[in-house]
Structure formats: structure tokens, C-alpha cells
């Protein structure tokens, strides 16, 4: 599996030079607690999610939320036929937000990683600014955008004054605001890996490009960009995966509306409100499967293309 794609480094970091020792008992002792914990609270729940996704309604129970183990494939058919707009919307929004975040982040990462390289203090400050959004609650900063985009807010008023927005139009609750929120919230996830790649980029390659008759634009396309591709791949994954499962931005109380509900909203509603556990589980499995397929194809493609 190409986990390397998650790394922002141009070259895979070599493992320790230390020849790993064969350690029977000590290794087991060190590994066991963590491995057992993850098995119990990550692997088993995944299995239990799969099992739940095939459950059928308990015929003997009268209350909602009682299910028995079965092998009901129909659950999958049901969720896909019912929620296919949400599924499509999720991946569409996530993809769009990923592209926007990439366009926003690359030049920023380039400034920090290459242009500010000779100014360590400014570089540190810039990095702090990039991660600053993480220090304030994710929910509150999303709510801040909601209020900035609210009908009485500056943005809407200005746009209406410029006749770019009709008097009855809104910004909140639209696909625009949801994608905007997703983009904003995941920008640091995109910027930092690209920054890491560019920061480690040996500028002598860029000089060599110039020496070999490549114009600055050509050098960028053929040297800088390909060498920073690992960071781009890792940034897009770090943005796309959480964005496709997110349900805060698209939630009615935040930047979305019922028309913008994503797969995460549907899973939450089915699980926590409707107590339709099999549907929520089936949707989760669908989400995870689609992500694995998309990510696998993406990583393979960006890996075997041999970076141009």
C-alpha cells in the first residue's frame, strides 16, 4: 500500500540505520497494549459496523431502534437509492473544496517554503499563521463565517449593493457557503504538506533547470512542481478524506441547509436521531469504500505517472 502518499516529503525518509533487533518478548510487551487497544476499539467496531449494516428490523419489537443480525443486502440498495444525491454531493463538494484549497495553498506554501527560506523568523511566523485556525474551535470559526455571510452581514449587503446578489438571495445555506467552509477549514491540511515538500526542495535543481535552458515557467512545471508532487498528493488526501465525511459545514445550523446535506449529515441523522443504525452503518461502509477506491486510484495514478 502506498502510504507514502500521505507524506509530504519528496523522498521517503529512510528508516533508522539501526539494524532492528529480533526481539520476541520485549517487542511483544511494547506492542501489545496499543495493538490490542486498536484492535478492540478500531478493528472490532469496523467489523461491527459491517455487521450492523446488514441488520434487519427486529420483527418482535415495537419500539424504534431494535434490530437483529441478518444478511440484508437490501440495506445497501436502499441507502444508495435513497441517498445517492447526498453521496454524489459529498464527493462533489469535497473534490471542489480540495481543488480550491490546492489553488489557494500552493502559492502560499511556495512563498513560505521557498521565498521565506532565507528569513527563518518570518518563515516561523508565517507557519504559525497557517496553523492559527487550528487553535480556535473548529465549530466556532465555522460559525464565524456563517455570521459573516449572514443576510444582515457585510458580504451579503455589499454583494446586493453591487447587484451581484438579488435582494432575496442568501449566501448561507447554499452550496457556495458549504464549499467555502470546507475549503477554509482544510486549507492548513493542504498548505502544510506542500510546504514541507517545497521547503525540502533543493534549489540547486531549480538552478540546474535554468542552466539547462528552461525558462522560469518551464522550470516550475518540469522541476519544481514534479518535485513537490508528494506534498500535493498528501495535501489533497488530507483534505479530501475528512472533507467528504464532514457534516459540520453542511449542517443546517452552520453553513448548509437541507439542500446541501452531505453523506455525513445523513449518517448522523440516521444514527443519532432516527436510530436507523443499519442505514447509517451501510452509508458509512459505502463512504469508506468509495474513499478507498478513489484514493487508491489517485495514489496509484500519481505514483505510476512517474511524476511526468
Amino acid at each position: 500500500m502506498a502510504f507514502g502518499a500521505f507524506g509530504g516529503s519528496p523522498a521517503t525518509t529512510p528508516a533508522s540505520d539501526a539494524a532492528p533487533r529480533r526481539g520476541g518478548l520485549i517487542a511483544l510487551f511494547l506492542l501489545l497494549p496499543g495493538a490490542a487497544y486498536l484492535s478492540l476499539f478500531f478493528l472490532v467496531p469496523l467489523v461491527s459496523l459491517i455487521l450492523t449494516s446488514f441488520q434487519a428490523v427486529d420483527p418482535n419489537a415495537f419500539e424504534i431502534g431494535k434490530f437483529v443480525y441478518a444478511f440484508q443486502w437490501q440495506n445497501y440498495v436502499d441507502v444508495v437509492t435513497t441517498y445517492w444525491p447526498h453521496i454524489l454531493r459529498s464527493f462533489g463538494y469535497a473534490a471542489l473544496a480540495t481543488v480550491l484549497a490546492l489553488l489557494f495553498s500552493y502559492p502560499l506554501a511556495y512563498v513560505i517554503g521557498v521565498k521565506l527560506r532565507r528569513f527563518p523568523l518570518l518563515q516561523a511566523l508565517a507557519l504559525t499563521l497557517v496553523i492559527a485556525p487550528f487553535f480556535i474551535s473548529f465549530l466556532l470559526r465555522t460559525l464565524a463565517w456563517k455570521q459573516i455571510f449572514s443576510d444582515e452581514g457585510v458580504v451579503v449587503t455589499a454583494l446586493q449593493a453591487l447587484s451581484l446578489l438579488g435582494p432575496a438571495d442568501h449566501l448561507t445555506g447554499t452550496p457556495f457557503s458549504v464549499i467555502f467552509g470546507l475549503t477554509y477549514n482544510f486549507i492548513p491540511f493542504m498548505t502544510l504538506p506542500i510546504y514541507t515538500s517545497l521547503e525540502r526542495l533543493d534549489l540547486r535543481y531549480v538552478e540546474a533547470g535554468g542552466d539547462l535552458y528552461a525558462s522560469p515557467a518551464s522550470t516550475f512545471l518540469r522541476v519544481t512542481l514534479p518535485l513537490s508532487l508528494p506534498g500535493v498528493v498528501s495535501g489533497t488526501l488530507l483534505t479530501f478524506i475528512p472533507a467528504s465525511g464532514d457534516y459540520i459545514n453542511a449542517s443546517r445550523d452552520f453553513l448548509g441547509s437541507t439542500d446541501t446535506a452531505m453523506i455525513g449529515n445523513v449518517i448522523e441523522a440516521n444514527f443519532l436521531q432516527l436510530q436507523n443504525y443499519p442505514a447509517a452503518a451501510a452509508l458509512s461502509i459505502v463512504l469508506m469504500a468509495v474513499i478507498l477506491v478513489l484514493v487508491g486510484a489517485y495514489v496509484r495514478r500519481s505514483g505510476t505517472e512517474d511524476l511526468l
Binding site: F3, F6, G7, G8, S9, T12, T13, A15, S16, A18, P20, R22, G23, I26, A27, L31, P33, G34, L38, S39, F41, F42, P45, S48, T52, F104, P107, V111, V130, I131, A132, P133, F134, F135, I136, S137, F138, L140, R141, A144, S150, L192, P193, T196, P230, G231, S234, L238, I241, G245, I248, I263, G264, I267, E268, L272, A280, S284, I285, G303
Partner: protein, 328 residues
């Protein structure tokens, strides 16, 4: 096919435009990038500034419209008891989950770097997958598990869930530190008559400490801000993000802004302090003319909780590389 060198000169120097004032010719590209960066940073800061400013709002009913400056919200944070309870729960969950995850994760990191064993690839996969799984799936999975096992949801289940997703990040962070540790140091310890236990506590552990601290801070930050997984596994218990979520529909009290702002300032101070500390140390090293200043830059960055929070994410490559082998 022949390319006379003289011709090459001709081609290359077709138009030798004399530019006497070269030094003032700063590229438009460089300026453009600089201006862009300033705009981009401003954009990133908008909601932060908004949140902080509204923590000083003289609130009547809802904290949406600016009604004037006041310090009341800051002075009477716990006038909204739910906010404070939620904050307390978040601290409790964060600290407990951090301790558990750091202990288990550090042990795993050491084992992964220092020992070769049969299920290495499988272990790596087990650590990688939680990071690549959407939170909603992690949350729903655990919730389904608790449901079928009949475990009532509450603070305990939140701690279990947070510990689970923190372990991977701890392993990734500490692992990098273990890998950079020169094994000759431990061998020197053994050579100087230290028992295996003494080698660990007197040599290995102190050297790993910066990495472990970074991992712990990262864990705490992840746990403190998590909402999605918490929402599935909290039952009636309320953490700070969950409080904000439920309150969002009816309006957030300014006290929530106060807490978020306070946490923000604390984190920023921590980051700046480590950065200044790093700069001071760098200067000291420079004065005593220790050659490589990059080494100290790397070391000072270690404790930088903020950066490491994400560093962990993208450095998971090293995690993958261990199990999947070198891709080259």
C-alpha cells in the same frame, strides 16, 4: 544537428538589453507572491479575529450583532454554567486520553523502530488506517460497537474513542524521534555498565522526551477540538465542541467565545515561546560556534505542538514506509 558554439552565443544573446539599474528590478512574480501571501494570511485570520472580537461583545440575547465593548463575558465566564461544565469535561477527556494514548503509542513507536517482528506490516496498517478513515465512520463504528455491547455512552466512552484516534498520531510523532536517535548512544550506555533499565531511563527516555511531549500536546489538541467522533459516543455527556454544536441552533453565548479565545491565546503563546526559546538557543549555539545551525532549528521545532499536530499527519509516510518498504 551541428550546433556551433558561436551560433549558440548568437542565439542566446540576440537582444542584449542593457539594464544599468538591475538591482531595482524586482520580479513582478516576487511582488505578486508577496501581496498574495499577505491577502491569504488576512483571509485565514478573519474568523479568528471575529471570534475573539465577539468575546467582548456586550450581548443582549444573541451574540450576532455588535452592541459595544465589555469585559463582562471574560469576568463572568461561568455565568453560563453549561459552558464551564463542558470545558471541564473537555479538559478531563483530553488529559486522560492523552496520557493513555501517549503511553501506548510511545511503546509501539519504540517497538516499530527498534525491533523486527512478524506482524510489522500488519501493525503499521493498523496504525495507518484510523488516520485514513473519515471521522464519521470511526465515530459510527465505535457507537455501533458500544450499542451492541450494551455499554452506556458517557465520559468514559468519549475517552475510549479519543484514545483510539490519538494513538496513531503519537506513534507517528514519537517514531520520527526514535528513528533519529543514534543507537550508538545506547550502546555507549551499555558499554559504560548501565543495565538495560538504566539505559532506557537515563539515556533513551530523556532523548525521546521532546518527541513524547510533542506527541502529548498533539493528542490533547486533537482530543480537545474533536466533535464528530465525540458526537457519536457521548450520550448525555457534553464536551466543549458538543456544547457549541447544540447551542448553535439557538445562539452561542459569548462565554463560548471567551473560552475559545483564551485557548487560542494560550496556544499561540506556547508556540511563540517555543519559537523564541529555539531562537535563543540557536543564538547561544552560534556564539559558542557550534557548526550546524540547522540541527538546532530542527530540535527547537520539536516541541512546537502546533506544527507537530499536522506534521504527524503528513509524516505518516515514515509509518507507511516502514511497513510497505521503500517504494523506490
Amino acid at each position: 544537428m551541428t550546433l556551433q558554439a558561436g551560433k549558440a552565443v548568437e542565439d542566446a544573446v540576440v537582444t542584449p538589453r542593457p539594464r544599468p539599474r538591475r538591482r531595482f528590478r524586482l520580479g513582478v512574480g516576487a511582488w505578486g507572491l508577496g501581496v498574495y501571501a499577505v491577502i491569504a494570511f488576512t483571509f485565514l485570520l478573519i474568523p479568528i479575529v471575529y471570534t475573539i472580537v465577539f468575546s467582548f461583545n456586550d450581548v443582549r440575547r444573541t451574540n450576532i450583532v455588535w452592541r459595544g465593548f465589555t469585559l463582562d463575558n471574560w469576568l463572568k465566564v461561568c455565568d453560563q454554567p453549561e459552558v464551564c461544565t463542558a470545558f471541564g469535561n473537555s479538559i478531563l477527556v483530553g488529559v486522560t486520553a492523552t496520557l493513555l494514548a501517549t503511553a501506548m503509542g510511545t511503546a509501539m513507536a519504540i517497538a516499530l523502530v527498534r525491533y523486527r517482528f512478524r506482524f510489522r506490516a500488519a501493525t503499521t496498517l493498523l496504525l495507518f488506517l484510523p488516520m485514513a478513515t473519515p471521522e464519521v465512520v470511526l465515530g459510527a463504528g465505535l457507537a455501533a460497537q458500544f450499542l451492541s455491547a450494551g455499554i452506556p455512552k458517557g465520559i468514559g466512552t468519549i475517552i475510549i474513542a479519543h484514545t483510539m484516534f490519538c494513538i496513531s498520531f503519537v506513534v507517528v510523532t514519537v517514531r520520527a524521534r526514535v528513528a533519529s536517535l543514534d543507537p550508538a548512544l545506547e550502546e555507549a550506555g551499555r558499554d559504560l555498565y548501565a543495565s538495560p533499565g538504566q539505559v532506557f531511563w537515563r539515556i533513551t527516555f530523556p532523548l525521546l522526551l521532546p518527541g513524547i511531549i510533542a506527541a502529548a500536546l498533539l493528542s490533547f489538541a486533537l482530543s480537545f477540538d474533536d466533535f464528530i467522533i465525540t458526537n457519536f459516543n457521548s450520550g448525555a455527556a457534553v464536551t466543549f465542541p458538543k456544547y457549541v454544536y447544540t447551542a448553535a441552533a439557538r445562539g452561542i453565548p459569548a462565554q463560548a467565545n471567551v473560552i475559545a479565545s483564551a485557548v487560542f491565546f494560550l496556544a499561540i503563546i506556547l508556540v511563540i515561546a517555543t519559537q523564541i526559546g529555539g531562537a535563543v538557543r540557536r543564538k547561544r549555539l552560534e556564539r559558542s560556534s557550534v557548526p550546524d545551525d540547522t540541527a538546532s532549528v530542527g530540535a527547537s521545532g520539536e516541541i512546537e505542538s502546533a506544527a507537530s499536530r499536522l506534521r504527524a499527519l503528513w509524516e505518516s509516510s515514515s509509518l507507511g514506509a516502514g511497513g510497505a518498504g521503500d517504494r523506490r
